[in-house]
Symmetry: C2
Subunit: 280 residues, 2 copies
């Protein structure tokens, strides 16, 4: 099988490395608008060769889009236009509703599978890729009834090769839930990073006084703006609503602290403790 | 040396275990208002015997307060009242200004050392204790000029035995910085936990769709309300100010998303990325 990886960053690179580990006869063609990333991906053996997009697509059985979600939305229709007869296109974007809409009316919609792997780190670029990133992670496939049986089956098989757990969901429901369990966490972390950096001009204090709790809550503030900006834009309505609820909760905490209402504060924290049931 | 550990939870228990590992001739007396915790601490060999507070203090060379900060504030003066001639009292509370104030005018103030170990986990109780919790962590000693040389030296020696890194700071500065690099993280996490639990009635979605980013940002929501309520109250002014800045940052993100201002959003995220320099 010949596979085109469009976007040679953490996710695209890890996808290729994970599959290579299972199938040493698969061939990987890389596509990246950054010549530097492309060269790096070749030298790290993430892919076997690098080609321009159209050429790569035309030579491949499976095309994997591992680029920011706005680029996925923009490229999906042109790529479907020149997709070979028996090839399949899959995207790995973190939003799904607008991406599915972008493919919706295309005559080759069936060749497209909308997928979202729940996997990542706060690092990005080809150097961040590693073969086990996707292993044991969840792959959410959206609006599967819009994909042809053969294309769906191919993507499912690839996910099984990567030892991923498959889940199926409507693209609108996907975006709503992800706003809460992923996108909101990222904004909470970005905002925390800025708040603390703004205050702590003498950064030595941060090093010495910040414990593992701070590192844990602020870790996602290292995430890529190029990747996350378009996610927030594409999932604007849900993310804005989630942020609204979050700000209200924080305001409740502030009011409780300002009023010395320790009992009410403990009630709220006990409610939050309920997350133990879920996270273990 | 005979050491009284007042509060047989994660911190008190770990303090005892860590020192025991270095000095098998030290004797530990436990104090806990919960008979269940006391029994558990004995059975886990965190301490060698359990006694009522006054009795334990009177038999000890070093008394360690590992209880919620409101209880520390309340007990510090009565304990100093019956502290033996050559004994030293140290507290491990997460706030320092009000605690130092509570000891300020006591004739035996010099026997007291105000300390804060930057260490902890989201778990609590005697079962959560482990010998290496404090190893390689920072111990901040506050207002050290108010402590007698001998008492300060004893506490510094114990910290060195525990392989901790010593730092010194004014108690008011401590509380201001901790509001940003610790207390705010906890509130951000508690509020995130509640926001997501409120929305996701069908919790199966959380299990399947939440990645490691969510776990990381929400981890502190498992923290003990009994411990954290009094910290927020004692550090009210600073925590309220930090929360105010944090809410403003989140509101900026929301406005940017609502207005589709991706450029401004990327600017903010790039600013947050600067945390990489600090966290590595």
């Amino acid at each position: 099988m010949q596979i085109a990886i469009v976007g040679l960053g953490l996710l695209g690179g890890s996808f290729a490395l994970g599959l290579k580990a299972k199938h040493n006869n698969y061939r990987f063609i890389g596509v990246d608008y950054s010549a530097e990333h492309a060269a790096k991906a070749l030298s790290l053996h993430l892919v076997d060769e690098v080609l321009p997009l159209e050429e790569a697509v035309k030579k491949s059985d499976l095309i994997v889009l591992a680029i920011p979600v706005n680029a996925i939305s923009r490229l999906i229709s042109p790529i479907l236009d020149f997709l070979p007869e028996n090839a399949t296109l899959v995207d790995l974007g973190s939003t799904k509703e607008l991406i599915c809409k972008a493919a919706h009316k295309h005559p080759k919609r069936g060749k497209f599978v909308a997928a979202h792997p729940i996997a990542g780190t706060e690092y990005s670029g080809p150097e961040a890729a590693f073969a086990s990133l996707l292993m044991n992670k969840t792959m959410i496939i959206c609006d599967k009834e819009a994909s042809d049986a053969a294309s769906l089956k191919l993507v499912e098989q690839v996910c099984q090769d990567l030892e991923m757990h498959l889940r199926y969901m409507d693209s609108a429901a996907h975006d709503l839930h992800l706003a809460y369990v992923s996108h909101l966490s990222h904004i909470s972390s970005f905002a925390l990073g800025i708040t603390v950096l703004d205050k702590e001009k003498d950064e030595k204090h941060i090093f010495d006084m910040a414990g593992s709790g701070f590192s844990s809550t602020v870790r996602l503030a290292k995430s890529s703006p190029q990747m996350w900006g378009p996610i927030f834009t594409q999932n604007k309505k849900n993310v804005s609503e989630a942020l609204d609820s979050y700000i209200k909760q924080l305001q409740s905490f502030k009011d409780i602290i300002d009023k010395d209402d320790e009992e009410k504060g403990k009630e709220l924290m006990l409610k939050a403790n309920d997350i133990r049931r879920i996270l273990g």
